[in-house]
């Protein structure tokens, strides 16, 4: 099992938005270096994190776990601000504490609860985390380039976002459902998003993290 600190580390790496994170860049106040060191070692042992000499990187398993934690955070924060009316900052801080001990089932129920509320009371960007509820979160989060042709995919995250700002324009954003129409041997792909076909180079498709959906 993962400890509170190790989950925080996973989340930090995920939030940094890059593949390789320099160790000293990880922002974890309230923890000593030895504590972080120990937690990191456990993470490496369990195969969540791959460790270079000065950097760390999430493994596939680690990315999945980190995304789960991040989602818990988002659902809790939405609940605290929108339903209980807490100040966003305080809500975020508290979500940070709660996210580690809440069960997956409770999160799902809370998520469904938020879904059923009137849409206009839910701030728009939060709905991304609650969209496509019945389709996803059963599969690992993997790069688009690793999915088979024809699969329906839920975009979880885009790495090196700044480099691919054109993806935002075309609607490839976290939360969007896309279809992988074509994949060549070199991992160049054609995806369908919002009814349009878009061709992507291999280096772009490797940076789009997706989750496969079970077709309803």
């Amino acid at each position: 099992m993962t400890s509170v600190l190790s989950e925080d580390i996973l989340e930090e790496i995920l939030n940094s938005g890059t593949d390789e994170v320099l160790l000293h860049v990880l922002k974890l106040p309230h923890h000593t270096e030895t504590e972080i060191e120990k937690a990191l070692n456990t993470l490496v042992e369990h195969g969540f994190v791959h460790r270079g000499s000065k950097t760390v990187r999430l493994t596939e398993k680690g990315a999945e776990k980190a995304a789960q934690v991040a989602r818990k955070h988002a659902v809790l924060e939405t609940f605290l601000t929108d339903v209980l009316g807490k100040q966003p900052e305080a809500a975020s801080r508290e979500a940070c504490i709660l996210e580690h001990n809440i069960s997956t089932e409770t999160i799902e129920r809370l998520d469904n609860f938020l879904d059923q509320r009137k849409p206009e009371t839910v701030p728009l960007e939060k709905t991304e985390f609650t969209n496509h509820n019945n389709l996803t979160r059963k599969n690992p989060i993997i790069p688009l380039s690793e999915c088979p042709e024809g699969s329906l995919l839920h975009v979880s995250m885009i790495r090196c976002f700044a480099k691919h700002s054109r993806l935002i324009d075309l609607g490839v954003i976290p939360g969007e459902l896309i279809t992988l129409r074509r994949k060549l041997v070199n991992n160049a792909v054609v995806i369908t998003v919002k009814g349009c076909d878009i061709a992507l180079s291999p280096e772009v498709s490797a940076n789009i993290m997706v989750e496969r959906c079970e077709t309803p």
Partner: protein
């Protein structure tokens, strides 16, 4: 004051077509993203009133830092337009609404054209334009631009002068809203400016001070949301676009269409199809272009040049007139056979939407040269003629790619250089030797591509290219587009050709050629192992590469070149001719597409390369 309006919309939604229809001007229309590069201006006359209209480059969003977006953004900020006309593709309504929502935030009177209604219906999407108009708070005109449907309504609405400002506002996340409010309040920014500042998008009206402060706010928001403001803003807009599109679209079963993409975008049979198409275009243009060029040159010689010389004018006028005729011959000899023919084919490929599929398939190979899939087109074109090839580099997304492609295109042997290589090397030395020149050039192109892709500044972006819809091309559009390219080419190349041709003519008249030959002879013999007259012939190759060959025969006084030059000398001549200085027309187009500085650099580079390799060959062969 006449009202001023601008057309704005996604790439390939029919802006240029509407512009052409309204202004009666010829602007290129195509089914390939990014055809309109600059801002086009025209005047629309309707009844006895008129207004000015600008055609802006197609963009997917106003945020972001690409050249086109920046151009449109600054244009909207700098020009105080009276009205914006947003053109939407009805078939891809949701994606198009994303841009429209941003345009609506400019708080200008807005007219919405819902174009391609026919294609949307064929795809089973029935759009309630009245409901869309109600929700946006501005008039929406459904149209089919390809047959001009409802386009006159646009002119009427603009001239009526009571187009409202959109009322729809995007509900942003409350942190974003708060940040925008405070930026607006402290710095007097407009809402779009504040949003751009938050997303760190470079805008001329945002001072470094504002930028720094908004960066602090942006970081704070990013920390809370685990998402950059840019992403949050984009998600808010996409969400509203999605809701809006869903609320006005009714889906009907789409008409069945064959899925050609199953054939065209797979490695097999897509790649063989691509190869067949490219090679056959090349062969057709190569042979047909050669025949046409010969016809044009011989016709002009028989009916213009010869009668002119027969007039027996005084020698000065004769030389001058001859030079002008020669320039006309060079220009027309490239324009119609090569530029026009190539663009006929390329236009067909563009308008059918095949070109984007070709780019997708070629992406892998082009990577090695520091280019992306789109770079295939200039490379293929360059075997025919460097001029249309360089003109086509504007299809490439970044400036660094355009420069790399221009360098490689200039180096690849065009059909004229093939004439020199085959006419001199293949016929006097042998096929093996001719082939070796090609091999040398290809190796050089590959090396230069590899080196340039490493040293050229500017980040390497992967290809993100919207696949154009497959549709049947319209013959008149195709011909018109090819014709426009010819006109454009003649317009930029003719003055240079005339000046240099007259210059060379005068040189000849004052017997400076002979002096030049005398002067260059020792240098040329020492460096390249070529006699002075051969070097002079090379200089004439700048006008038109085949002229190097023709002039050589004239200067040598015989067509049996083997009698006056050794095999090694002929080989060096052809090699230098193939590599050194592009022809005047190419330089003219280079100046237009890459700027004077790069054109000069490329010219000097090829000059050094040609002379350097010639010297090397001299050392080895002679």
């Amino acid at each position: 004051m006449t009202p001023r309006a601008a057309l704005i919309g996604n790439p390939s939604v029919g802006k240029s077509l509407i512009f052409n229809h309204l202004t009666g001007l010829g602007v290129e229309v195509s089914n390939y993203p990014g055809t309109t590069v600059g801002v086009m201006h025209g005047v629309v006359r309707y009844g006895d009133a008129e207004f000015s209209l600008a055609d802006l480059p197609g963009i997917y969003s106003l945020s972001g830092d690409s050249v086109e977006k920046e151009m449109v953004r600054e244009y909207l900020l700098a020009e105080d337009l009276d009205l914006l006309i947003a053109v939407l593709d009805a078939k891809h309504l949701e994606r198009n609404l994303y841009l429209l929502l941003q345009v609506a935030e400019m708080k200008k009177p807005l007219l919405v054209i819902l174009n391609m209604m026919d294609e949307a219906e064929a795809a089973g999407k029935i759009i309630d334009s009245a409901s869309l108009a109600k929700q946006l708070g501005v008039p929406v005109i459904p149209s089919v631009a390809t047959n001009g449907k409802n386009l006159d309504d646009i002119a009427r609405s603009v001239l009526d002068g009571n187009v409202p400002v959109p009322t729809l506002a995007i509900p942003y996340d409350h942190h974003i809203e708060a940040a925008v409010h405070s930026l607006q309040k402290y710095y007097g920014l407009s809402q779009p400016e504040a949003l751009w500042a938050l997303a760190s998008i470079p805008v001329s009206t945002i001072t470094p001070e504002i930028h720094e402060n908004s960066l602090v706010i942006a970081e704070e928001i990013e920390r809370r949301h685990m998402m950059s403001p840019e992403q949050i803003i984009a998600a808010n807009r996409h969400n509203l676009a999605k809701q809006l599109a869903a609320s006005v679209t009714r889906t009907a079963p789409p008409r069945r269409r064959r899925d050609f993409d199953a054939l065209l975008t797979r490695g097999f049979p897509g790649l063989p199809i691509l190869a067949i198409i490219m090679v056959s275009i090349l062969l057709i243009v190569f042979t047909l272009g050669g025949v046409l060029e010969e016809t044009i040159v011989s016709l002009m010689t028989t009916y213009i040049a010869d009668p002119f010389h027969a007039l027996g004018l005084d020698p000065f006028a004769d030389t001058l007139g001859g030079a002008i005729i020669l320039a006309l011959m060079s220009g027309l000899g490239i324009a119609f056979p090569y530029v026009f023919l190539f663009y006929l084919f390329i236009s067909v490929l563009e308008d059918t939407g095949y070109l984007t599929r070709a780019a997708f398939l070629a992406d892998r190979g082009m990577h090695k040269l520091g280019l992306h899939g789109q770079g295939l087109i200039p490379m293929v074109l360059s075997f025919g003629c460097s001029v249309p090839a360089i003109m086509s580099t504007r299809l490439l997304p970044t400036r660094s790619e355009r420069v790399i492609a221009s360098v490689l295109v200039t180096m690849l042997p065009c059909s004229a250089r093939t004439v020199v290589i085959s006419g001199i090397v293949a016929s006097f030395i042998g096929f093996g030797a001719a082939f070796s020149i090609y091999a040398i050039v290809f190796v050089l192109v590959f090396l230069v591509g590899c080196i340039l892709s490493r040293i050229t500044p500017g980040e390497q972006y992967g290809m993100i290219l919207e696949m154009a819809e497959l549709r049947r091309p319209i013959a008149s559009h195709v011909v018109r587009k090819a014709w426009m390219r010819v006109r454009e080419f003649l317009y930029i190349a003719m003055p240079l050709l005339l000046v240099s041709s007259i210059f060379l003519g005068l040189f000849e008249y004052y017997s400076l050629i002979a002096m030049f030959e005398e002067f260059i002879d020792p240098i040329s013999t020492a460096v390249l192992g070529l006699p002075g007259f051969a070097f002079t012939a090379l200089m004439f190759g700048i006008l038109r590469k085949e002229m190097a060959f023709e002039t050589l025969a004239v200067m040598a006084g015989t067509t049996d070149l083997a009698a006056v030059l050794s095999g090694g000398q002929l080989y060096i001549f052809a090699l230098v001719c193939a590599l050194f200085i592009p022809c005047i027309s190419t330089i003219a187009v280079l100046m237009r597409e890459t700027g004077v500085r790069y054109a000069a650099m490329i010219t000097v580079f090829t000059l050094c390369l040609g002379i350097g390799l010639g010297t090397l060959a001299h050392l080895i062969l002679l």
